[in-house]
């Protein structure tokens, strides 16, 4: 089937990603099935292989997956203008909803019941973060280099209180050097 391209797709791009932004909770990989349904089966803008490509790219580029995939699909369909429309679409629902929620929180947070609720919620959120930590650990490659970098990052951040940005840069450099050394050994 002919894939639709060009400026006529700007409004559909905006509206489709508006819908994706409005109906995915929690963000991240939770968005992928909806993106697949809307952009592959619905609009036929991209193929299933493109979706796999998006996941691979999103994993190795910075930033939220929602924005990565909106920019990618938008630019495929209608260049920079398409990327801008799709990205604006995926952001807008969060933006508006959070502005409203921020107002509600300010209005109600002094209530005793709300404070008790958040007292419970903070303990629950700690459990959710622990679960996310476990999920990421399971997906991370195992091996001496990986464990060494994870332990190093933990020590730098938790014990020595080094700036998180510097820790990230050091780990990126350590990963790069270790994989270049491994590649050099494999050649010999």
């Amino acid at each position: 089937m002919e894939q639709k391209r060009g400026r006529s797709q700007l409004l559909p791009l905006f509206l489709t990603f508006l819908k994706i932004g409005a109906f995915t909770f929690g963000g991240g990989y939770a968005m992928i099935p909806l993106i697949q349904r809307e952009t592959v089966e619905g609009r036929k803008w991209i193929s299933d292989e493109d979706v796999l490509e998006i996941i691979a790219i999103a994993e190795s580029t910075p930033g939220p997956i929602a924005i990565n995939s909106a920019t990618f699909v938008g630019s495929r369909v209608a260049g920079v203008a398409g990327a801008a429309c799709a990205t604006l679409g995926v952001i807008l629902p969060s933006f508006v909803i959070i502005l409203i929620v921020a107002g509600l929180l300010d209005a109600f947070q002094h209530l005793r019941a709300v404070q008790y609720a958040f007292f419970g919620i903070r303990a629950g959120v700690l459990a959710l973060i622990l679960k996310a930590f476990w999920n990421m650990y399971k997906k991370c490659p195992k091996g001496a280099v990986s464990y060494g970098i994870a332990a190093g990052a933990f020590l730098l951040a938790a014990v020595l209180k080094v700036n998180v940005l510097i820790v990230i840069l050091c780990c990126a450099l350590a990963g790069l050097v270790s994989s270049l050394i491994r590649a050099g050994r494999a050649k010999k």
Binding site: F25, G26, G27, G28, Y29, E53, I57, E59, S60, T61, P62, G63, P64, A66, I67, N68, T71, F72, S75, V90, I91, S94, F95, I97, V101, A102, A113, Y116, A117, F119, G120, I121, A123, G124, V125, L126, A127, L128, I129, A132, F133, M136, Y137, P141, V145, I149, A150, A153, F154, A158, V164, V167, I168, C171, A172, A174, G175, V177, S179, L180
Partner: protein, 187 residues
Amino acid sequence: MICLDLFWTFFKIGLFTFGGGYAMLPLIQAEVAAHGWLSTETLLNFVAVSESTPGPFAVNIATYIGSRLAGIPGAACATLGVALPSFIIILIVARCYERFRSSKVVSGVMTGLKPAVIGLIGSAILTMGAAVLFPGGVTAAVFSTLSFWVSVGIFALTAVLAFKKVHPIALICLSAALGVAAGYLLL
């Protein structure tokens, strides 16, 4: 001025966090604490709000902090800042995907970044855990307070349920209900 600071801080957050979602938490927590924009308690409250509203965590938290500090213009600056790095990088990568995918530099950097996120989240869990369980600092007296044991109980129960794959929104509702019940009945 505050708008420029919001834009630049969230630009850095957008540029240096890989994987999205909770992977962003350590950097957001560090930056927000360094600026004194939100307490760790408020940040944890907001994680629950973000889980229960649509959209990516990064955009939600950028909008929230921006709007609290400088209204709608602040929200717009912070959100633009967090989105812009991805936008520019994906536009570039979409054009030279094959070269990007086979690049030894990209895959090398990723072998460092994946475990880095694990270590950083581990460190963030310690900071946040201390804020939840020891809001007034670690002292012997804390262990004899009822609120400490209620927090531990809610944490243990939700952790078990989270590992049994109960939906996050259900867990947030449950912990809120337990917090309200414990607050009125025990505290």
